[in-house]
Amino acid sequence: MLQKEGQVRIPSGCAISGIFAKDGSRVNGQEIVRSIAVMHDRSNGLGGGFAGYGIYPTYKDYYALHVFYEDLNAKHECEAFLERHFDIINLSKIPTRKTRKIVDEPLIWRYFVTPLPHALSDSQLDEREYTVRCVFRVNTRIQGAYVFSSGKNMGAFKAVGYPEDVGSFYRLDEYEGYCWMAHGRYPTNTPGWWGGAHPFTMIDYAIVHNGEISSYDANRRWLEMFGYHCSLLTDTEVITYIFDYLLRKQGLSLEEAAQVVAAPFWETIQRKDPKEQERLTYLRSVFSSLLITGPFSILLGFDGGMMALNDRLKLRSMVAAEKGNLFYVASEECAIRVIQPELDRVWAPKGGEPVIVRLEKEVV
């Protein structure tokens, strides 16, 4: 039987890439596949995945749930749960293309849903919190069911395999969106399995991550106090919840959240002006358990934007670039040049300094 995360440790890098069209123009999924494919040697075939934003314009007001099922029992149980909590507007298998390079796939389904009005009102929660709790309920209580994507007008696609094969498997050439993120996995501590591939998502937040987090347990314990269940025993899951907590629940800005997880060193804080010292000291003190130590480069996708961030020591590589309205970011410059040889600007963001891009206008 396949051993999952946490049941075995494999001591053994990763690749990330992102494209963002600031004018909201639609980029074909094949572009991000071509980008991540160049960095093939950074992964080892044990996980690849993508997130696309703006890909479901027809259903943009509905939560798009992407679900893995190990068997039909899990599907029946999950669908019964969904029907009790949501109005299901549309459901279907997620279209895939058979390839010999992607095997042992679970059942992969997609549901466009909206919370049942009376159930939502009885819960006394806002719509997003209601949906988050339902996702956690499925992932922790229903054996063999795993919701791996739950945002509006966005979706994650992931599998065990090399990212270019995963992209082909999910027919990403048939999707278009204003933002794409990709990940090629080289698991360092745990075996690869479908749920453990990146991106990790929670409603519209999606994370792809290259690195290894030594603060995982400290971060996890803090988040458990606020109802986040780390069920996948992998470090990237905890980053997704950290951002959901800081941004959605605490209302921090993206810059502030970046200064929590990649806090400047005390020595660096001491050299700032008094007001800035006070602000940074506050963030580092109040959220000390959310400091992420260890090497990382991450992309955080959210509704209408994307943030790229390195750990404060910059122990993982990351290059950013611009061409007209298009923003690119990747572990290696070659992954950008392969899809856009001529660039207006190329730079390496500093450790701990977030690069944030947003849509310049509402996408219709």
């Binding site: 005390w266 050299r271 590589s317």
Partner: protein
């Protein structure tokens, strides 16, 4: 010899370079292939495009010129030869370099020249035309690092933690400014005429490679960072 790197793996590309009968090898359409010219002791290699990580690792006398940007770990443990980059370079350029010369026209990333060392006639030189990232010359043991900061004003041309853990060699920073966070285990002084003479040949080569006006660059001044002999590092340092 001209090699089109499109669709060639790094193994195929490196084998073709090694097995070439010609001294001059031109690579076009390079896109991310790693270890180019690794360990090469002769030949002149010209690369157009974006070479991958560990370009010229263990280079042993060959010369490599890149018309584009270089990625991470360029010249890792390089022993001899020359690497010239007409663009910027990623993190850890000249990592553990122990001979030869690296010239980067624009900025370079974090941890450049980390663990650089020297022995007798092996005196490695790393010249960065733009700015360098944090941890420049971390644990440096020998050799010379020069950062020109072309286009930089009002600040030293390096980011944080310059020379941390350094116990040999020198870092030359062009301009009046000294890094604000310089460790008390390091000392800094303005370069003397003799020291300027020492780096002049490397700066002249920089000017020739990149067609920069050397007179204004040589004017300096240059700040020289060295280990503080009165207060050397006695144990591992750690940022917190």
């Amino acid at each position: 010899m001209r090699l089109n790197a499109e669709r060639l793996s790094h193994q195929e590309l490196n084998r073709a370079i090694r097995e070439s009968d010609e001294n001059d090898v031109r690579i076009i359409n390079c896109c991310g292939q790693r270890y180019l010219g690794a360990g090469l002791s002769n030949k002149q290699v010209e690369v157009t495009g974006t070479p991958g990580n560990a370009l010229g690792a263990y280079l042993d006398g060959a010369s490599i010129t890149v018309y584009g940007d270089a990625q991470d770990a360029m010249g890792d443990t390089m022993n001899g030869g020359t690497i010239v980059v007409h663009g910027m370079a990623g993190d850890a350029a000249g990592y553990a370099m122990r001979g030869g010369e690296i010239y980067i026209h624009k900025n370079a990333g974090y941890r450049c020249g980390v663990h650089m060392k020297a022995y007798k006639d092996r005196q490695p030189v790393l010249v960065i035309g733009g700015e360098a990232g944090s941890f420049l010359g971390e644990y440096q043991a020998g050799g010379i690092i020069v950062v020109l900061g072309l286009g930089t004003k009002e600040k030293a041309p390096v980011n944080n933690f310059c020379g941390m853990g350094m116990y040999g060699g020198r870092i030359f920073l062009r301009g009046e400014r000294v890094p604000q966070d310089l460790s008390s285990h390091l000392s800094v002084h303005t370069a003397s005429q003799e020291e300027l003479k020492e780096i002049a040949p490397a700066l002249e080569r920089f000017g020739t490679f990149f067609k920069e006006d050397m007179d204004s660059i040589m004017e300096g001044p240059f700040q020289v960072i060295e280990p503080n002999v009165e207060n050397p590092y006695r144990q591992r340092y750690a940022a917190y």
